[in-house]
C-alpha cells in the first residue's frame, strides 16, 4: 500500500511535469501561431491550385502603385490676379478688367454602391463654386454678374467598371451637371442639366499596365464636343514612377516617394458650360451660355496625414482655353462656323488648390 502510495506520488509528479511541459509547449505554439510575423514554412504547396468552382478571374480597375480613389474630398481653389478682356455686349463696350481673385470650395463624394470582382459601380456627387473679385466690375454686365453671383456647378455621376475576364474591360461614366450663376439653394431649372458620357474599352496587360480606347461626349472644352479618348495607366518596374492619364482630359507623371506620399506633374483640362440667367435679354441674347474651359498645368503633392485621410496640394498655371458666350447650347465642334456672341479672353493666372480627402480601401 505504501509502495503504491510512493509510486502514485512519483507518477503524479511526473504527470504534473509532463502537463507543465505540454502546457508550456502549447503556450509557445499559440504565441507563435498568433504572431503576425513570418513563420518559416514551405509555401510551395500553394503554387499549383485550381479554383474550386472553376470560376473566372477578372481584371481590376487599377494598376500597382496608382493613387488611391477619393471617397470624400473637401477642397479650396484659388486663382490669382489676371486680366479679363470682355467683348462688347448690348450697350456695353469691350472692356479689360482686372480680376483680383477667383476662389471657392470644391466638394466631391464618391460611393461604391456595387463593389464586386466582376463589376464596380460608383455613384458620385460634386459641388464647386467660383467667386470673383473684379475691379470696376459694374463696367460690363458679364463681370457684374460674375462679381455679384459667381459661377456654381452641382453634379451627379455614375461610373461602371465591367471586366469581362482577366484582361478586357469596359469603363463607362455618365455625369449630369447643373452649371450657372445661380445661388444655393435655388438651383436653376433641371431643364438646363448638361450631360456627359464616356465609354472606354480596355486591356489590362499586367498588374502595372492598363490602357483603353474610347469615346466621350464632354464639356471639357466649354461646349459640347465629341472626342476620342485614350486611357493609359502604367507603373514602371521600379514602382517609383508611373503614368496616370485619360487623354485628352488629363495626364500626369507620378512619382511614388513612399506608399503614403505621391507627387505628380501634369495637366487637366477642366470645362463646363454655364447658364447665365442674369444675362437673359441683355443684348438680345435669350439663352446665354458661358463656355468656360481652362488647362491646368500643375504639380500635385499628396500625402496620407492620418491613416485614410490624405492631404492633396496642387499649384500651377491656369491657361485659358475658352471663355466665350453663346446663345443656346449647341454642338459646334472644331470645324463649326457658328459665331460666338462674345469672344472673351483671360490672361493666364497662377493657381493653387488644396483638399482633405478620405480615400478608399
Amino acid at each position: 500500500m505504501n509502495g503504491h502510495s510512493k509510486f502514485d506520488i512519483k507518477g503524479c509528479v511526473l504527470s504534473i511535469l509532463t502537463y507543465l511541459i505540454l502546457l508550456t509547449s502549447s503556450i509557445s505554439a499559440v504565441a507563435q501561431e498568433s504572431d503576425t510575423t513570418f513563420v518559416e514554412e514551405d509555401f510551395s504547396m500553394y503554387d499549383e491550385v485550381e479554383l474550386a468552382d472553376g470560376g473566372k478571374r477578372f481584371a481590376t480597375s487599377k494598376v500597382l502603385g496608382q493613387s488611391p480613389n477619393k471617397l470624400i474630398s473637401l477642397g479650396y481653389d484659388f486663382q490669382g490676379r489676371h486680366d479679363m478682356t470682355l467683348d462688347d455686349l448690348g450697350s456695353a463696350p469691350m472692356s479689360t478688367l482686372q480680376v483680383n481673385s477667383v476662389q471657392g470650395i470644391r466638394i466631391v463624394a464618391n460611393f461604391p454602391i456595387i463593389s464586386k470582382t466582376n463589376v464596380l459601380v460608383n455613384i458620385g456627387a460634386n459641388y464647386g463654386e467660383s467667386l470673383y473679385q473684379i475691379d470696376n466690375a459694374d463696367d460690363h454686365p458679364l463681370s457684374q454678374s460674375l462679381q455679384q453671383r459667381g459661377l456654381r456647378t452641382t453634379g451627379l455621376s455614375a461610373t461602371v467598371f465591367k471586366p469581362f475576364n482577366e484582361t478586357n474591360f469596359l469603363f463607362t461614366q455618365v455625369t449630369a451637371d447643373l452649371n450657372g450663376d445661380y445661388f444655393l439653394p435655388d438651383f436653376q431649372p433641371l431643364s438646363f442639366t448638361r450631360y456627359s458620357l464616356s465609354a472606354i474599352y480596355g486591356w489590362k496587360r499586367h498588374d502595372r499596365l492598363l490602357y483603353g480606347f474610347g469615346f466621350t461626349r464632354s464639356y471639357r472644352v466649354g461646349e459640347p464636343n465629341y472626342l476620342p479618348v485614350f486611357m493609359y495607366n502604367y507603373t514602371f518596374p521600379s514602382r517609383k514612377w508611373g503614368i496616370e492619364s485619360v487623354f485628352p482630359a488629363r495626364g500626369h507623371v507620378r512619382r511614388t516617394i513612399d506608399a503614403r506620399t505621391l507627387a505628380f506633374f501634369g495637366y487637366e483640362l477642366e470645362g463646363q458650360t454655364y447658364r447665365m440667367s442674369s444675362l437673359e435679354g441683355v443684348g438680345g441674347v435669350l439663352d446665354p451660355e458661358l463656355r468656360r474651359s481652362e488647362l491646368r498645368i500643375r504639380l500635385v503633392f499628396e500625402r496620407s496625414i492620418k491613416d485614410f485621410i490624405w492631404l492633396s496640394v496642387q499649384a500651377g498655371v491656369r491657361y485659358n482655353w475658352n471663355y466665350n458666350l453663346d446663345d443656346g447650347d449647341f454642338f459646334r465642334g472644331f470645324f463649326g462656323d457658328q459665331l460666338y456672341i462674345m469672344e472673351n479672353d483671360l490672361a493666364n493666372a497662377l493657381y493653387f488648390n488644396f483638399s482633405i480627402n478620405l480615400v478608399s480601401p
Binding site: 499549383e48 491550385v49 474550386a52 481590376t60 503614403r260
Partner: protein, 150 residues
C-alpha cells in the same frame, strides 16, 4: 412518449454546437484574392479566424529578394516577409455565413481596415474592408482554391 421527446430534444441540443461549429469552420481553407495576386489561407484559432498570405504572384521585389512589408507604418515590421504574413485577424463567426469584428491588412498601402466577411456560397467570400462604417469601403471577391495533387 415524453422520454422519447426528451431524448430527441437532448440530441438536437447536443448537435447544435457541432452544426454551428461546422458553419463557422466553413471559411477555413485557401482563398485567392480578387486580383489574383495573392492566396490566403484562413485558419481557426480558438473561436477566432485569421488568414495568412501563402502565395504571391510576384513573391520577389525588383532586386530579386523576397518582398518585405516595407509599407507598414510600424518601422519595426518593415523587414518582415510578406509571404506568411497574417493579413486577416480576429474574425468571429456571427452566424448567417458571416464573420465580423476582424481586420484586413493591405500590404500595398500599409493600411489596416475593419473587415467583414460573408460567404455567399461555399467557394466564394465577399471580403469588405471599410473605414469606420461599411459605407466607406470596398468589397473584394475571394474564390476558394484547391491544391492540385502532385
Amino acid at each position: 412518449m415524453s422520454r422519447h421527446v426528451a431524448i430527441f430534444v437532448f440530441c438536437m441540443l447536443a448537435g447544435l454546437p457541432a452544426i454551428a461549429q461546422e458553419g463557422a469552420a466553413a471559411i477555413v481553407g485557401v482563398w485567392e484574392t480578387g486580383n489574383g495576386k495573392a492566396r490566403v489561407k484562413i485558419d481557426q484559432a480558438g473561436d477566432k479566424f485569421k488568414g495568412r498570405i501563402v502565395w504571391l504572384r510576384e513573391p520577389n521585389d525588383e532586386s530579386g529578394n523576397p518582398k518585405l512589408d516595407k509599407n507598414n507604418p510600424d518601422e519595426s515590421l518593415r523587414s518582415k516577409r510578406l509571404l506568411g504574413y497574417w493579413m486577416l485577424q480576429d474574425f468571429i463567426f456571427v452566424g448567417d455565413n458571416t464573420w465580423e469584428d476582424g481586420t484586413i491588412y493591405d500590404p500595398e498601402s500599409g493600411s489596416t481596415y475593419s473587415c467583414t466577411i460573408e460567404m455567399t456560397d461555399s467557394n466564394t467570400l465577399d471580403v469588405r474592408g471599410y473605414i469606420g462604417v461599411s459605407l466607406f469601403g470596398r468589397t473584394d471577391i475571394w474564390k476558394r482554391v484547391m491544391l492540385k495533387s502532385k
